[in-house]
């Protein structure tokens, strides 16, 4: 299922709930926690940074492949070209004094999902995350 949200300012929760309402998501609390958190972090990234003031669209797509058992979540926007995967991962071994406050969101997606990919096509940022369910 796929839906375009426009504009996306203050729509983070609505977009999360739309994706989490997919009938393809199994009734498994631990899995739902991981999906919800990954979706929240990825959507917030677009809502906060893709467009100046959140004036722009985001297309949210979730689908399930029965052969591979892969649940795929795709987020597409026409904002500033930005590959969030290029950001260096936080160093999780630093002391409290040295730990930086940012950069945790996409790092969580990388760790909670099975795969995460970015590409830029036809003027759109496309972020694709998969999870075997």
């Amino acid at each position: 299922m796929k839906k375009r949200f426009n504009p996306i300012k203050d729509k983070t929760s609505e977009i999360i709930e739309y994706l989490m309402s997919s009938p393809d998501i199994p009734d498994d609390e631990a899995l739902q926690f991981k999906l919800r958190l990954s979706i929240e972090e990825a959507v917030e990234n677009v809502v906060r940074y893709a467009y100046d003031g959140g004036i722009g669209w985001l297309e949210a797509d979730i689908h399930f492949d029965e052969d591979s058992l892969l649940l795929t979540i795709e987020l597409r926007d026409a904002g500033v070209p930005f590959n969030p995967l290029e950001r260096e991962d936080p160093d999780v071994n630093l002391s409290v004094e040295d730990r930086d406050i940012g950069g945790l969101g996409i790092f969580l997606c990388k760790n909670l999902m099975d795969s995460i990919e970015y590409h830029y096509e036809n003027g759109n940022n496309v972020l694709t995350m998969t999870k075997k369910v």
């Binding site: 926690f33 936080p90 999780v92 730990r99 969101g105």
Partner: protein, 105 residues
């Protein structure tokens, strides 16, 4: 309680400060959470225990505030403990290395 409700209770009991967080820390509640935590971040409490048994979810925005609090408590030479975290929230602290810098019991 709605999915995006969150409540923080802070009790100063002599030398010890007991805090409970009830609900979710997400894009909706994070501002209220930040405001509640500012009391502790800007305060001088030396011994803080946060009961997380009713904390059902935290996004990276919540983690960020826990880190700011830990930095502030460390700087003033105090103690911060997070207790009774559920397994899923604990995993978020583990993945991000926050379990190494914030004491979790």
């Amino acid at each position: 309680m709605n999915s995006s409700d969150m409540e923080v209770t802070i009790n100063n009991n002599g030398d010890k400060t007991n805090v409970t967080i009830d609900g979710r820390i997400d894009n909706v509640t994070v501002e209220a959470f930040q405001q509640s935590m500012n009391t502790l971040i800007e305060g001088n409490q030396q011994d803080i225990e946060i009961d997380c048994s009713a904390l059902s979810y935290t996004s990276s925005q919540g983690l960020r505030i826990f880190l700011i609090l830990q930095k502030s408590v460390t700087k003033r030479g105090g103690k911060l403990v997070l207790s009774n975290m559920n397994a899923q929230v604990k995993e978020v602290f583990d993945i991000t290395g926050f379990s190494n810098i914030i004491k979790i019991v």
